[in-house]
Symmetry: C2
Subunit: 211 residues, 2 copies
Protein backbone atom coordinates (compact mmCIF):
# COMPACT_ATOMS: atom_id res chain seq x y z
CA UNK A 1 0.00 0.00 0.00
CA UNK A 2 1.46 3.34 -1.08
CA UNK A 3 0.06 6.70 0.01
CA UNK A 4 1.43 9.88 -1.57
CA UNK A 5 1.31 13.35 0.01
CA UNK A 6 -1.97 13.93 -1.86
CA UNK A 7 -3.54 10.62 -0.82
CA UNK A 8 -2.84 11.55 2.81
CA UNK A 9 -4.41 15.02 2.39
CA UNK A 10 -7.57 13.42 1.00
CA UNK A 11 -8.10 10.87 3.78
CA UNK A 12 -11.17 11.21 5.99
CA UNK A 13 -10.29 13.60 8.85
CA UNK A 14 -10.59 11.14 11.76
CA UNK A 15 -8.87 8.31 9.89
CA UNK A 16 -6.03 10.69 8.94
CA UNK A 17 -5.64 11.80 12.57
CA UNK A 18 -5.44 8.20 13.84
CA UNK A 19 -3.18 7.07 11.01
CA UNK A 20 -0.63 9.91 11.00
CA UNK A 21 -0.49 9.95 14.80
CA UNK A 22 0.55 6.29 14.81
CA UNK A 23 3.02 6.35 11.91
CA UNK A 24 6.12 7.24 13.95
CA UNK A 25 5.97 3.98 15.94
CA UNK A 26 5.60 3.40 19.65
CA UNK A 27 5.50 6.37 22.06
CA UNK A 28 5.91 6.63 25.84
CA UNK A 29 2.79 7.00 28.01
CA UNK A 30 3.23 9.64 30.70
CA UNK A 31 0.89 11.59 32.96
CA UNK A 32 1.88 15.21 33.58
CA UNK A 33 0.74 16.56 36.94
CA UNK A 34 0.42 20.28 37.70
CA UNK A 35 -1.23 22.67 40.15
CA UNK A 36 -2.59 26.19 39.66
CA UNK A 37 -1.97 29.17 41.93
CA UNK A 38 -5.52 28.49 43.25
CA UNK A 39 -4.42 24.97 44.31
CA UNK A 40 -6.45 23.29 41.54
CA UNK A 41 -4.59 20.15 40.45
CA UNK A 42 -4.51 18.89 36.86
CA UNK A 43 -3.40 15.63 35.29
CA UNK A 44 -3.05 14.95 31.56
CA UNK A 45 -1.71 12.11 29.44
CA UNK A 46 1.10 12.92 26.99
CA UNK A 47 2.83 10.68 24.45
CA UNK A 48 5.46 13.26 23.46
CA UNK A 49 7.85 13.22 26.44
CA UNK A 50 11.41 13.00 25.08
CA UNK A 51 15.01 12.97 26.22
CA UNK A 52 16.99 16.10 25.36
CA UNK A 53 20.11 15.92 27.50
CA UNK A 54 21.68 13.93 30.33
CA UNK A 55 23.88 16.51 32.11
CA UNK A 56 21.92 18.57 33.04
CA UNK A 57 19.07 16.04 32.79
CA UNK A 58 16.68 17.77 30.36
CA UNK A 59 13.39 16.40 29.06
CA UNK A 60 10.92 17.94 26.61
CA UNK A 61 7.31 17.46 25.60
CA UNK A 62 5.16 18.98 22.87
CA UNK A 63 2.05 21.04 23.64
CA UNK A 64 -0.66 21.68 21.05
CA UNK A 65 -1.92 25.22 20.37
CA UNK A 66 -3.28 27.06 23.40
CA UNK A 67 -5.44 29.60 21.53
CA UNK A 68 -8.40 27.43 20.59
CA UNK A 69 -8.89 25.32 23.72
CA UNK A 70 -7.90 25.73 27.38
CA UNK A 71 -4.57 24.14 28.21
CA UNK A 72 -4.52 23.73 31.95
CA UNK A 73 -1.17 21.92 31.99
CA UNK A 74 0.53 24.82 30.21
CA UNK A 75 -1.21 27.50 32.27
CA UNK A 76 -0.24 25.82 35.54
CA UNK A 77 3.41 25.37 34.52
CA UNK A 78 3.57 29.05 33.55
CA UNK A 79 2.03 29.99 36.92
CA UNK A 80 4.48 28.21 39.19
CA UNK A 81 7.25 26.66 37.10
CA UNK A 82 7.00 23.03 38.25
CA UNK A 83 5.36 19.82 37.02
CA UNK A 84 5.63 16.07 37.42
CA UNK A 85 6.02 13.30 34.82
CA UNK A 86 4.63 9.91 35.89
CA UNK A 87 4.97 6.70 33.85
CA UNK A 88 1.69 4.94 33.03
CA UNK A 89 1.48 1.28 34.08
CA UNK A 90 -0.79 -1.50 32.79
CA UNK A 91 -2.79 -1.39 36.04
CA UNK A 92 -4.22 2.10 35.34
CA UNK A 93 -4.19 2.67 31.57
CA UNK A 94 -7.94 3.31 31.36
CA UNK A 95 -7.84 5.94 34.12
CA UNK A 96 -4.78 7.49 32.46
CA UNK A 97 -6.45 7.56 29.03
CA UNK A 98 -9.55 9.33 30.32
CA UNK A 99 -7.53 12.22 31.79
CA UNK A 100 -7.81 13.46 28.15
CA UNK A 101 -11.53 14.16 28.71
CA UNK A 102 -12.27 17.89 28.61
CA UNK A 103 -12.94 18.95 32.21
CA UNK A 104 -13.39 22.42 33.68
CA UNK A 105 -10.34 23.97 35.33
CA UNK A 106 -11.83 23.63 38.81
CA UNK A 107 -12.33 19.89 38.21
CA UNK A 108 -9.25 17.75 38.92
CA UNK A 109 -8.51 14.74 36.74
CA UNK A 110 -7.00 13.12 39.86
CA UNK A 111 -10.43 13.12 41.46
CA UNK A 112 -12.43 12.39 38.26
CA UNK A 113 -10.20 9.48 37.17
CA UNK A 114 -9.61 8.11 40.68
CA UNK A 115 -5.86 8.55 40.69
CA UNK A 116 -4.12 9.62 43.90
CA UNK A 117 -2.22 12.85 44.48
CA UNK A 118 1.13 12.46 46.24
CA UNK A 119 3.51 15.23 47.31
CA UNK A 120 7.13 15.75 48.30
CA UNK A 121 7.59 18.19 51.16
CA UNK A 122 9.59 20.71 49.12
CA UNK A 123 7.94 20.35 45.72
CA UNK A 124 4.66 22.01 44.73
CA UNK A 125 3.43 19.83 41.84
CA UNK A 126 1.41 16.64 42.48
CA UNK A 127 2.81 13.19 41.67
CA UNK A 128 0.64 10.17 40.79
CA UNK A 129 0.85 7.68 43.66
CA UNK A 130 -0.11 4.72 41.43
CA UNK A 131 2.91 5.33 39.20
CA UNK A 132 6.22 3.70 40.15
CA UNK A 133 8.54 5.89 38.07
CA UNK A 134 8.02 9.60 38.76
CA UNK A 135 9.92 12.74 37.89
CA UNK A 136 9.72 16.16 39.56
CA UNK A 137 10.46 18.73 36.85
CA UNK A 138 11.47 22.40 36.89
CA UNK A 139 10.40 24.40 33.81
CA UNK A 140 13.42 25.76 31.92
CA UNK A 141 12.33 27.02 28.51
CA UNK A 142 9.61 26.78 25.87
CA UNK A 143 10.69 26.62 22.23
CA UNK A 144 8.03 27.65 19.68
CA UNK A 145 7.63 25.32 16.70
CA UNK A 146 6.08 27.96 14.44
CA UNK A 147 5.34 25.64 11.54
CA UNK A 148 2.33 24.10 13.26
CA UNK A 149 2.00 26.44 16.20
CA UNK A 150 3.08 24.06 18.96
CA UNK A 151 5.49 24.51 21.86
CA UNK A 152 8.34 22.29 22.98
CA UNK A 153 8.34 22.59 26.78
CA UNK A 154 11.77 21.86 28.28
CA UNK A 155 12.40 21.07 31.93
CA UNK A 156 15.16 19.78 34.20
CA UNK A 157 14.76 16.74 36.46
CA UNK A 158 14.81 17.86 40.12
CA UNK A 159 13.55 14.58 41.62
CA UNK A 160 13.55 11.06 40.23
CA UNK A 161 11.70 8.36 42.15
CA UNK A 162 11.63 4.68 41.18
CA UNK A 163 11.61 1.23 42.85
CA UNK A 164 14.91 0.10 44.40
CA UNK A 165 15.29 -2.86 42.07
CA UNK A 166 14.32 -1.03 38.86
CA UNK A 167 17.80 0.14 37.84
CA UNK A 168 20.84 -2.11 37.36
CA UNK A 169 24.50 -1.22 37.90
CA UNK A 170 24.88 0.01 34.30
CA UNK A 171 21.94 2.39 34.66
CA UNK A 172 19.56 0.26 32.60
CA UNK A 173 15.85 0.09 33.42
CA UNK A 174 13.55 -2.79 32.43
CA UNK A 175 10.29 -1.10 31.37
CA UNK A 176 8.63 -4.52 31.00
CA UNK A 177 9.32 -5.53 34.62
CA UNK A 178 7.97 -2.12 35.71
CA UNK A 179 4.72 -2.87 33.76
CA UNK A 180 5.13 0.40 31.89
CA UNK A 181 3.11 0.86 28.70
CA UNK A 182 3.54 2.45 25.29
CA UNK A 183 1.01 4.34 23.14
CA UNK A 184 0.45 4.23 19.42
CA UNK A 185 -1.57 7.02 17.87
CA UNK A 186 -4.07 8.56 20.26
CA UNK A 187 -5.90 5.55 21.63
CA UNK A 188 -3.88 2.30 21.48
CA UNK A 189 -1.91 0.94 24.43
CA UNK A 190 0.89 -1.63 24.31
CA UNK A 191 2.64 -3.98 26.70
CA UNK A 192 6.45 -3.94 26.56
CA UNK A 193 8.78 -6.92 26.73
CA UNK A 194 12.55 -6.49 26.63
CA UNK A 195 14.18 -8.56 23.87
CA UNK A 196 17.83 -7.70 24.38
CA UNK A 197 20.48 -5.10 25.20
CA UNK A 198 23.32 -4.45 22.77
CA UNK A 199 26.66 -2.88 23.71
CA UNK A 200 27.53 0.65 22.59
CA UNK A 201 28.53 0.22 18.91
CA UNK A 202 32.33 0.42 18.44
CA UNK A 203 34.15 -0.07 15.09
CA UNK A 204 36.59 -2.63 16.58
CA UNK A 205 33.76 -4.77 18.00
CA UNK A 206 31.60 -4.75 14.89
CA UNK A 207 29.67 -8.03 14.37
CA UNK A 208 30.12 -10.20 11.31
CA UNK A 209 26.70 -9.89 9.62
CA UNK A 210 25.71 -12.42 7.00
CA UNK A 211 23.73 -11.10 3.99
CA UNK B 1 14.82 5.09 45.54
CA UNK B 2 14.95 8.88 45.30
CA UNK B 3 17.53 10.78 43.25
CA UNK B 4 17.70 14.57 43.54
CA UNK B 5 19.12 16.90 40.88
CA UNK B 6 22.47 16.69 42.69
CA UNK B 7 22.45 12.89 42.96
CA UNK B 8 21.93 12.74 39.18
CA UNK B 9 24.82 15.15 38.52
CA UNK B 10 27.13 12.98 40.62
CA UNK B 11 26.36 9.66 38.93
CA UNK B 12 29.13 7.92 36.98
CA UNK B 13 29.10 9.33 33.41
CA UNK B 14 28.14 6.14 31.54
CA UNK B 15 25.56 5.08 34.12
CA UNK B 16 24.04 8.59 33.98
CA UNK B 17 23.87 8.45 30.17
CA UNK B 18 22.09 5.06 30.20
CA UNK B 19 19.80 6.00 33.06
CA UNK B 20 18.65 9.45 31.90
CA UNK B 21 18.24 8.25 28.32
CA UNK B 22 15.79 5.58 29.47
CA UNK B 23 13.81 7.64 31.98
CA UNK B 24 11.18 8.97 29.53
CA UNK B 25 9.85 5.48 28.79
CA UNK B 26 9.66 3.58 25.52
CA UNK B 27 10.79 5.24 22.27
CA UNK B 28 10.24 4.36 18.61
CA UNK B 29 13.05 2.62 16.68
CA UNK B 30 13.53 4.12 13.22
CA UNK B 31 16.29 4.02 10.62
CA UNK B 32 16.83 7.28 8.74
CA UNK B 33 18.18 6.81 5.19
CA UNK B 34 19.94 9.57 3.24
CA UNK B 35 22.22 10.07 0.25
CA UNK B 36 24.95 12.65 -0.37
CA UNK B 37 25.45 14.64 -3.57
CA UNK B 38 28.28 12.16 -4.31
CA UNK B 39 25.76 9.29 -4.19
CA UNK B 40 27.11 7.98 -0.86
CA UNK B 41 24.21 6.45 1.09
CA UNK B 42 23.89 6.64 4.87
CA UNK B 43 21.67 4.88 7.37
CA UNK B 44 21.36 5.73 11.07
CA UNK B 45 19.14 4.59 13.93
CA UNK B 46 17.11 7.27 15.75
CA UNK B 47 14.82 6.97 18.76
CA UNK B 48 13.56 10.57 18.60
CA UNK B 49 11.14 10.51 15.65
CA UNK B 50 7.92 12.25 16.74
CA UNK B 51 4.55 13.32 15.40
CA UNK B 52 4.11 17.08 14.99
CA UNK B 53 1.04 17.47 12.81
CA UNK B 54 -1.43 15.48 10.73
CA UNK B 55 -2.49 17.95 8.00
CA UNK B 56 0.06 18.57 6.59
CA UNK B 57 1.64 15.35 7.90
CA UNK B 58 4.69 16.64 9.76
CA UNK B 59 7.23 14.58 11.71
CA UNK B 60 10.29 15.69 13.65
CA UNK B 61 13.45 14.15 15.02
CA UNK B 62 16.25 15.47 17.24
CA UNK B 63 19.85 15.68 16.06
CA UNK B 64 22.77 15.97 18.45
CA UNK B 65 25.42 18.70 17.95
CA UNK B 66 27.22 18.63 14.59
CA UNK B 67 30.35 20.51 15.64
CA UNK B 68 32.24 17.78 17.47
CA UNK B 69 31.58 14.71 15.32
CA UNK B 70 30.58 14.19 11.69
CA UNK B 71 26.81 13.98 11.19
CA UNK B 72 26.29 12.40 7.81
CA UNK B 73 22.50 12.24 8.15
CA UNK B 74 22.29 15.99 8.72
CA UNK B 75 24.81 16.84 5.98
CA UNK B 76 22.98 14.70 3.43
CA UNK B 77 19.56 16.18 4.27
CA UNK B 78 21.02 19.68 3.91
CA UNK B 79 22.54 18.70 0.54
CA UNK B 80 19.39 17.44 -1.16
CA UNK B 81 16.40 17.97 1.11
CA UNK B 82 15.04 14.41 1.31
CA UNK B 83 15.30 11.45 3.66
CA UNK B 84 13.48 8.25 4.56
CA UNK B 85 12.18 6.96 7.91
CA UNK B 86 11.98 3.16 8.17
CA UNK B 87 10.50 1.27 11.15
CA UNK B 88 12.81 -1.29 12.76
CA UNK B 89 11.41 -4.83 13.03
CA UNK B 90 12.43 -7.67 15.38
CA UNK B 91 14.07 -9.52 12.43
CA UNK B 92 16.84 -6.93 12.00
CA UNK B 93 17.34 -5.14 15.33
CA UNK B 94 21.02 -6.07 15.60
CA UNK B 95 21.79 -4.73 12.11
CA UNK B 96 19.77 -1.61 12.90
CA UNK B 97 21.58 -1.07 16.22
CA UNK B 98 25.03 -1.29 14.65
CA UNK B 99 24.28 1.49 12.14
CA UNK B 100 25.33 3.65 15.12
CA UNK B 101 28.94 2.51 14.65
CA UNK B 102 31.18 5.38 13.51
CA UNK B 103 31.94 4.78 9.84
CA UNK B 104 33.67 7.02 7.32
CA UNK B 105 31.40 9.05 5.02
CA UNK B 106 32.35 6.96 1.97
CA UNK B 107 31.30 3.79 3.85
CA UNK B 108 27.59 3.01 3.69
CA UNK B 109 25.82 1.51 6.71
CA UNK B 110 23.55 -0.29 4.22
CA UNK B 111 26.54 -2.24 2.97
CA UNK B 112 28.29 -2.61 6.36
CA UNK B 113 25.18 -3.78 8.22
CA UNK B 114 23.79 -5.88 5.33
CA UNK B 115 20.56 -3.97 4.92
CA UNK B 116 19.18 -3.45 1.40
CA UNK B 117 18.72 -0.10 -0.37
CA UNK B 118 15.40 0.33 -2.14
CA UNK B 119 14.28 3.30 -4.28
CA UNK B 120 11.14 4.89 -5.66
CA UNK B 121 11.52 6.18 -9.21
CA UNK B 122 10.91 9.82 -8.30
CA UNK B 123 12.51 9.99 -4.84
CA UNK B 124 16.26 10.39 -4.26
CA UNK B 125 16.68 9.01 -0.70
CA UNK B 126 17.16 5.27 -0.06
CA UNK B 127 14.52 3.20 1.77
CA UNK B 128 15.32 0.06 3.79
CA UNK B 129 13.89 -2.93 1.93
CA UNK B 130 13.71 -5.08 5.10
CA UNK B 131 11.38 -2.55 6.76
CA UNK B 132 7.64 -2.89 6.17
CA UNK B 133 6.59 0.62 7.20
CA UNK B 134 8.54 3.31 5.31
CA UNK B 135 8.19 7.05 4.94
CA UNK B 136 9.64 9.28 2.22
CA UNK B 137 10.23 12.69 3.84
CA UNK B 138 10.83 16.19 2.46
CA UNK B 139 12.86 18.48 4.73
CA UNK B 140 10.83 21.52 5.82
CA UNK B 141 12.61 23.30 8.68
CA UNK B 142 15.19 22.87 11.43
CA UNK B 143 14.42 24.42 14.82
CA UNK B 144 17.45 25.06 17.06
CA UNK B 145 17.08 23.96 20.67
CA UNK B 146 19.75 26.31 22.00
CA UNK B 147 19.67 25.03 25.56
CA UNK B 148 21.67 21.91 24.71
CA UNK B 149 22.69 22.76 21.17
CA UNK B 150 20.52 20.25 19.32
CA UNK B 151 18.29 20.63 16.27
CA UNK B 152 14.71 19.54 15.77
CA UNK B 153 14.53 18.50 12.11
CA UNK B 154 11.00 18.79 10.69
CA UNK B 155 9.83 17.13 7.48
CA UNK B 156 6.61 16.41 5.60
CA UNK B 157 5.54 12.91 4.55
CA UNK B 158 5.65 12.63 0.72
CA UNK B 159 5.35 8.83 0.54
CA UNK B 160 4.00 6.34 3.05
CA UNK B 161 4.42 2.64 2.31
CA UNK B 162 3.05 -0.18 4.47
CA UNK B 163 1.53 -3.67 4.08
CA UNK B 164 -2.06 -3.80 2.76
CA UNK B 165 -3.43 -5.37 5.93
CA UNK B 166 -1.55 -3.11 8.39
CA UNK B 167 -4.15 -0.34 8.67
CA UNK B 168 -7.79 -0.82 9.68
CA UNK B 169 -10.79 1.26 8.57
CA UNK B 170 -10.37 3.67 11.50
CA UNK B 171 -6.74 4.36 10.58
CA UNK B 172 -5.30 2.27 13.42
CA UNK B 173 -2.06 0.32 12.98
CA UNK B 174 -1.10 -2.73 15.06
CA UNK B 175 2.63 -2.29 15.73
CA UNK B 176 2.77 -5.72 17.36
CA UNK B 177 1.47 -7.53 14.27
CA UNK B 178 4.01 -5.58 12.18
CA UNK B 179 6.79 -6.88 14.50
CA UNK B 180 7.91 -3.32 15.13
CA UNK B 181 10.17 -2.67 18.11
CA UNK B 182 10.71 0.02 20.73
CA UNK B 183 13.94 1.29 22.30
CA UNK B 184 14.70 2.23 25.86
CA UNK B 185 17.80 4.28 26.52
CA UNK B 186 20.53 3.75 23.94
CA UNK B 187 20.83 -0.02 23.81
CA UNK B 188 17.68 -1.88 24.90
CA UNK B 189 15.10 -3.21 22.45
CA UNK B 190 11.50 -4.19 23.22
CA UNK B 191 8.77 -6.28 21.65
CA UNK B 192 5.33 -4.63 21.49
CA UNK B 193 1.98 -6.24 22.17
CA UNK B 194 -1.25 -4.29 21.82
CA UNK B 195 -3.38 -4.44 24.99
CA UNK B 196 -6.40 -2.38 23.94
CA UNK B 197 -7.80 0.63 22.08
CA UNK B 198 -9.91 3.19 23.93
CA UNK B 199 -12.35 5.58 22.26
CA UNK B 200 -11.61 9.29 22.03
CA UNK B 201 -12.44 10.59 25.54
CA UNK B 202 -15.76 12.48 25.62
CA UNK B 203 -17.35 13.96 28.78
CA UNK B 204 -20.74 12.29 28.06
CA UNK B 205 -19.16 8.84 27.70
CA UNK B 206 -16.96 9.03 30.77
CA UNK B 207 -16.51 5.63 32.50
CA UNK B 208 -17.57 5.04 36.08
CA UNK B 209 -14.22 4.45 37.82
CA UNK B 210 -14.12 2.80 41.19
CA UNK B 211 -11.55 4.07 43.71
Amino acid sequence: MHFTQNDLKNLDRVKKLNFINSITGIKPANLIGTISSNQETNLAIFSSVMHLGSDPALLGFVLRPAQDVPRHTFENIMENGFYTINHVRTSFIEKAHYTSTKFKKEESEFEKCKLTEEYLSDFIAPFVKESTLKLGMKFVESVPIKLNNTLLIIGEIMHLILPDNAIDNKGYIDLGLLNNVGISGLNSYYKLEKITDFPFARPNEFPNFSE
